[in-house]
Amino acid sequence: VPLVKGLGGRARGTVTLAIYTVAGATSSLLLGATLGVLGHTFIPQRVSAMALLATAIAAAAAAGRELGLLEFPLPQLQRQTMMHWGRVFDPFLAALLWGLDLGLLFTTRVAFAGVWVVALMALASREAGFGALLLLSLWFGRAMQVWVAAAFVAESGQIPTLLSGVYRRHAGLQRVNVFGLAGTIGAVASLLAQGTHL
């Protein structure tokens, strides 16, 4: 948790977190828009409902994996973001680099299968705008951890401790991921029932 370890005072910490959040939002937005454009290019309009259905099936498989009912490896890079940036660079530059890196989502290790479903949804949407919004929402959920943790403690020095405690609650976070996937399936079912495309 090097980002939150070096936050310093309240004003400096807020600027650092803001840089991290905006940088991640930028790379997530670009990734989402790119996925939307790729979907528009490679998924014909006539099969867009099928693509949506395939995403719901992928969400069900991902939920099954996280519930321990299915077993399959997630395609991912076994890489974490560069911890040493915090020692080598100014804290603001390090926050910028961490945000850009983590916002790209697949350049670092993926904890649960849900992120793949969001990426598939961006692809199936066939729209740069909606794809960007999806990945942006994912990023804001991810970045919010640090902001909410900061609001929960009296001193910024306690944030790493609190977040470490959260990260140890793997099963709880996995359940949250499954709830997100179940909701996604529900929303897709609703779209398909209404005959609406993304």
Binding site: Y167, N177, A187
Partner: protein, 55 residues
């Protein structure tokens, strides 16, 4: 820094796991019959929240 075993911080970390997903789940579930697009964004945020992401 307060140790991670501190009961107060431990209970806070437990609360923190659910404090954001709960309202987002409610918003997503309420909206999906009428505005499924917004629901999808809420559920994407929940999925993002669950990632062990902070560097």
């Amino acid at each position: 820094v307060e140790p991670v075993t501190s009961p107060r911080l431990a209970s806070r970390s437990s609360l923190l796991v659910w404090i954001v997903p709960t309202p987002l789940l409610a918003i997503g579930a309420l909206l999906f019959p009428v505005e499924a697009h917004v629901s999808l964004l809420a559920f994407a945020a929940i999925i993002g929240w669950s990632q062990l992401a902070s560097p």
